[in-house]
Symmetry: C2
Subunit: 344 residues, 2 copies
DNA sequence: GTGAAAGCGCTAACAA
DNA sequence: TTGTTAGCGCTTTCAC
């Protein structure tokens, strides 16, 4: 807060009019209630005095903070900036200010952040990092703040959400590999406590089945986290169990990168020996070696839709929750090719 | 803002005590003024009623919003998330909430964001995207809000700033190339209206000179922006003018990537024919093809230092501005090698 | 150690 | 069309 902002009172005195009149002029919804000449003088005085309405004080009175809390796991994870920008763009447009907090996937930090949001009386909440059975749920319900989930969702339902169509994404990856002639495809799955991990895994299995292939549960290795190291380890498990595997669908790009590492460690070439498909299409995935074939998710759009849903929920709190599922697209690059001869 | 938060008044009534007493208990600085027994009952009632102090209302009274505005060009630029996280971590620790706004390098959007910050009565400002002669400067001064610059700085001085030691970074890159035996090194410079572009360019020239080599201004091509395409174009200019160049220092990693592209277009191999050094060490630079040798900047640390400086400025507004320069490090990877035979 | 009262800057209901 | 008044939830000075 700075030295001394001019107040509505200062403007009123300068014009020789009552403060409420100034308020009326400044508020678009009530400006027509004041005579044009006075309005003009008020506007002029406000500009001359460098008057900036105190939005916080206004919020105290109107009981709306014009503020939205955005909870994400980690801003430095390349997945989230586009989502946040999408959210922010529509929120700003609507006169809201987004407040961002990182949880680093720690439940305790998420809880603290939620309490800070509550202390600021946010008008709404966007949660980008929930787990399927999120411990925050009861507190959320108690708070009664309009909330939208984005990117990941919860098992319970009842909260509006905007997510990628993960099953469709897995199918895109599997069908691409099948079309290339791969007969034996493995899956490096993400953590199953996350909706993305579970949905991509289920989608993978369903797509294999839909193609009339044998579904072997052992062709799926679950990674402990969405990080490169975990991907390498899961890749190793998979390849140890099935040396004749010719393709891997990874549940995200980092896991795919881990698979790259494990393949290199074994002296296997990608895509010559084993094809790899990622998930997310993170920035610069086209610069990897080899350039990564991956399922592109329109992250910014997901953020935009989430913010719109939230504005809706704020305006009409009783509207039943709905889930928006956004369609992903396959981006074919250099990490997939036909399987080696004799392994089709 | 949600349905009905319990207020300090509710707590007071529950305990049968005056609201001011509740306030005293809740405020660490005045708690000792109230008897232990009453304090205990107040605390219990507050917890039972689920009372969360309204930080906004408190701010109205104390004239401190406990809020800091952070202005960045683009959150989706991998440079900024680590800086923001660094800022946020120390600000949160100190009880402040960061509000982020993106400018997309548009002066008009920066101005709007600044006004929104002013309307929220932020206690401080962190600006990450200033240009050397920033048009925001006069308005900033008028606002009188404690401000810290980060990552880039302005020519005028007088505002505390935390930046990378760009000259030192350029020297690191040049010396590395010289040590490898390169005799003719070019520079793809960043936009000169940005302090980083100017400082890295100056540092490059100075390092060449310090090594006793001829300084040719024409060995520098200035890119229009810090984007891949601009890097490719500048690289082309450079290589057209000096086909015998064996190494390029790029003013950031994206420009380096552009150089990769231009080299590929010419059928030149990196690092066999031409070595390339980047600047920033962006995430996954080690995954590029070839893995990028680059000047690592401790972005998170820079954010941390900036926030500390801001807290200092908020606490002691009259402290003279100082600039903190953080030391970069060279990370040698696969994009640099000895020059081709006959070109040393 | 506790209560009373004023007021931060604004909006909104009611009067004139 | 304009003025009056009350109060959002909190902190702080002053009395007791």
């Amino acid at each position: 807060m700075t030295k001394k902002h001019a107040s509505i009172h200062d403007v009123a005195r300068a014009v020789g009019v009552h403060p409420s009149t100034v308020s009326r002029v400044l508020n678009a919804r009530t400006r027509h209630l004041v005579s044009p000449s006075v309005a003009a003088r008020v506007t002029a005085a406000a500009r001359r005095l460098g008057y900036t309405p105190d939005q916080v004080a206004a919020g105290l009175r109107t009981r709306r903070s014009s503020t939205v809390g955005v909870l994400i796991p980690d801003l430095a994870n390349p997945l989230f900036p586009p989502i946040v920008r999408g959210i922010e763009s529509v929120l700003t447009e609507a006169g809201y200010t987004a407040i961002i907090a990182n949880t680093d996937n720690a439940a305790a930090r998420a809880r603290e952040a939620l309490e800070r949001f509550a202390a600021r009386r946010v008008d709404g909440l966007v949660l980008a990092g929930v787990v399927r059975r999120d411990p925050l749920l009861p507190r959320l319900r108690a708070l009664g703040v309009p909330t939208v989930l984005v990117n990941r969702t919860v098992d319970a339902g009842g909260i509006p959400a905007v997510v990628n169509d993960d099953a469709a994404g897995s199918a895109l990856a599997v069908d691409h590999l099948l079309a290339l002639g791969h007969a034996f495809i493995g899956h490096v799955a993400g953590p199953q406590r996350l909706s993305t991990g579970a949905a991509r895994r289920a989608g993978f299995l369903a797509a294999i089945k839909a193609a009339g292939r044998a579904v072997r549960e052992s062709a799926v290795a679950v990674a402990r986290s969405y990080e490169t190291g975990a991907g390498a380890q899961a890749g190793r498990t998979l390849l140890d169990a099935h040396p004749r595997l010719t393709a891997i669908v990874a549940a995200n790009d980092l896991l795919a990168l881990g698979c790259y590492d494990e393949l290199a460690r074994r002296g296997l070439a990608c895509p010559r020996d084993v094809s790899v498909v990622g998930f997310n299409d993170m920035p610069f995935a086209d610069r990897f070696s080899p350039p990564l074939t991956t399922v592109h998710i329109p992250h910014r759009l997901i953020g935009v839709e989430a913010a719109r849903l939230l504005l809706e929920a704020i305006a009409h709190p009783e509207t039943p929750a709905r889930e928006i599922r956004v369609a992903p697209e396959l981006v074919v690059r250099g990490s997939t090719a036909r399987p080696p001869r004799g392994r089709r």
